[in-house]
Amino acid sequence: MREGRGGVSAGSKVCSRLLLEEFRKTQARKTVSQHCSAEMEVVTLPVLHRMAVCGGTHGDEMTGVFLVPELERQRREKGDGIWPIALTTVLSNPRAIKECKRYVEKDLNRCFTSALLSSSITDSTPYEIQRAQELNSLLGPKETEDAIDIICDLHNTTANMGLTVISYSFSNWVCLHLFKYLKEKVTTVPVRLMLLDIPICDAYSLESVSKYGISLEAGPQPQGVVRADIFNFMKEAVNAVMDWIKIFNSGQVIEGGEVESYMVEKSIDYPRDPETQRPSAAVHPQLQDQDFCLLKPGDPMFLTFSGETVKYEGEPRHPIFINEAAYYEKGIAFHLAQKKNITIPSIQAKKD
């Protein structure tokens, strides 16, 4: 049970285990692994009513910072009717945006665990924890029926990741179908799916507040910079998400199939100086920019500043988020993921 100011509202305070299970049953929610061998029956899901596009969750990731106001401008110019779904646009971290920094006191996109969303607010509570609870009230509450259907949270990375759809593995077929559609429609840049195998209460990012949340991560782009080419394919991706929603909501059967995903297993840190704890090497030139390519044992991984090569010694895996500037302080040079093919069923919206 969650308690505390800013947590779950009274009306949906009955986030008891029973209601949650009922909710999950009616949403036909199953884990990805259980469905790997499911038969290809058409799964019926409720129509999607509300969506949020969020930008500036990290205040220096500029595509979202500019795309959200652009969507608002379109709304002012052409009215709400241009979109197939009720759209909420959000600049998630206004204080960080104003200072063009990732965050002011604490990384906002790590503040959405159930524990942090229900923690008590005091004068010394970091700004971002308070803001996360505000966003949870606005778009959630997380894990309840009142939560918004889809959150599409816009991010940038300094890593060479093209357009990467990030979702949690507990997510329903909607997220996987969204990815499948994006991969078909967005052709100017590679589109890939990264999955985090974390249970919902521990899911820490903004999109976990919604029923079907995804992050759209676009790179490479330096922090504080907006590149027109990246802005354009992100705009294309958001439009494609809304096109898919229109198709889904119309009641058409959306055919299933196979999707390729990268399931994150662990992270690798930079070699560090034992005294100063500062990195003593950079990502090796042969690994730099090779996100999603296979890293095999013996492959070069780091090049120290004095010129020695450090090689990878582990199972063959796919590195992601190679040399993301914001991850230096988190002790991450890159994540390692295993490629997994997932069979997704055909789905169809069930009209209310």
């Binding site: 500019f66 795309l67 106001p69 652009e70 401008r73 379109q74 063009c100 300094t158 490479p220 782009q221 330096p222 922090q223 504080g224 910079v225 907006v226 590149r227 027109a228 080419d229 802005f231 354009n232 500062r278 990195p279 950079a282 990502v283 090796h284 030139p285 730099q288 090049l303 500043f305 004095s306 040399n323 993301e324 500037a325 914001a326 230096y328």
Partner: protein, 325 residues
């Protein structure tokens, strides 16, 4: 002094004699999140090259803005690399004075004083940019034969990265950056690299360039003659800001995809320059084709600069030799 140098050019057989460069400074972390220089300085300091005396040159290695480096930000209160004008170096400091102004005066004591005989002979200040500029030497003079010869040397020796020479036409009193403290000096700018991270190939290129520069200095000091020739110089003409909302002042467009990453490719009148977030192209309305650089440098958004524009001309440089011999 300049006139004398120019007179020497009348007879191209003449070799210009210049004083040896006895003291050289390598500075990094002038902007605390431009990490190639930060790590290069750390490596040099680790190898106890804080002040190495290797005949015939003393090399001083300096971390310019340790506070900004510690926080991995460009600056803490004001941009250190705008604090070296004569006016700011003689500013009376108080408790309210921003850290970087005080630090600039400390660096001026250590490496200057600017404009005096005691000033460091050559300052090489290491920087990174998010713009696709390769390696650039940025100076305030288009007739500093030392800097131009070093550029020519790097162009000849560096295979992996283009090397160019940029000239800002400011008189010494108004020259605002750290490199202006030395008798000769330049910013060594390498990109593209996002701020706050380090790319191995960029670090290696900077390391190579610094080593080539120091090798050149030693050769020069030992009396070698360096043959004249020419260097293409890009002289700053003006800067262009982003289109902005007249009320909020927030930018309404990004650098156009046709211009992005095309530093030093000639921009003609009518060429696409910006693409608004709503999809309209904004074109270059100038009358003169010019060379853009610092295209989409992240730290220049707050300074109101989307790109700089330069004219290019070929500068003849004389043969030079150290006047020791």
């Amino acid at each position: 002094m300049d006139r004398e140098r120019l007179l020497h050019l009348r007879n191209k057989e003449d070799v210009v004699k210049l004083p040896a460069l006895e003291r050289v400074a390598v500075c990094g972390g002038t902007h605390g999140n431009e990490l190639s220089g930060v790590y290069l300085v750390r490596e040099r300091l680790k190898k106890r090259r804080k002040s190495e005396v290797m005949e015939p040159v003393t090399v001083v290695t300096v971390m310019s803005n340790p506070r900004a480096v510690h926080r991995c930000v460009r600056y803490t209160e004001t941009d250190l690399n705008r604090c070296f004008t004569d006016a700011m170096l003689s500013f009376s400091v108080s408790d309210q004075t921003p850290f970087e102004i005080i630090r600039a005066q400390e660096l001026n004591s250590q490496l200057g004083p600017k404009g005096s005989d005691q000033a460091t002979d050559l300052i090489c200040d290491l920087h990174n940019t998010t713009a696709n500029m390769g390696l650039c030497l940025i100076t305030y003079s288009d007739c500093d034969w030392i800097c131009l010869h070093i550029c020519k040397h790097l162009q000849r020796e560096m295979a992996t990265i283009p090397v160019r020479y940029i000239h800002y036409d400011f008189p010494p009193a108004e020259a605002y950056s750290l490199d202006s403290v030395g008798k000769h000096g330049f910013a060594m700018e390498i990109g593209p690299q996002p701020h706050g991270l380090i790319r191995s190939n960029i670090f290696t290129a900077m390391q190579e360039a610094v080593q080539l520069m120091l090798d050149w200095v030693r050769l020069f000091n030992s009396g070698s003659e360096f043959e004249g020739g020419w260097v293409d110089v890009y002289s700053l003409v003006k800067n262009i800001d982003y289109p902005r909302d007249p009320q909020t002042h927030i930018i309404t467009a990004a650098v156009h995809p046709d211009l992005q990453d095309r530093d030093f490719c000639l921009l003609h009148p009518g060429d696409a320059m910006f693409l608004s977030f709503s999809g309209e192209s904004v074109r270059y309305k100038g009358k003169e084709p010019l060379y853009p650089f610092f295209i989409n440098e992240s730290s220049y958004y707050e300074k109101g600069v989307a790109l700089f524009l330069a004219r290019r001309r070929r500068v003849e440089i004389p043969s030079i030799q150290s006047s020791r011999t």
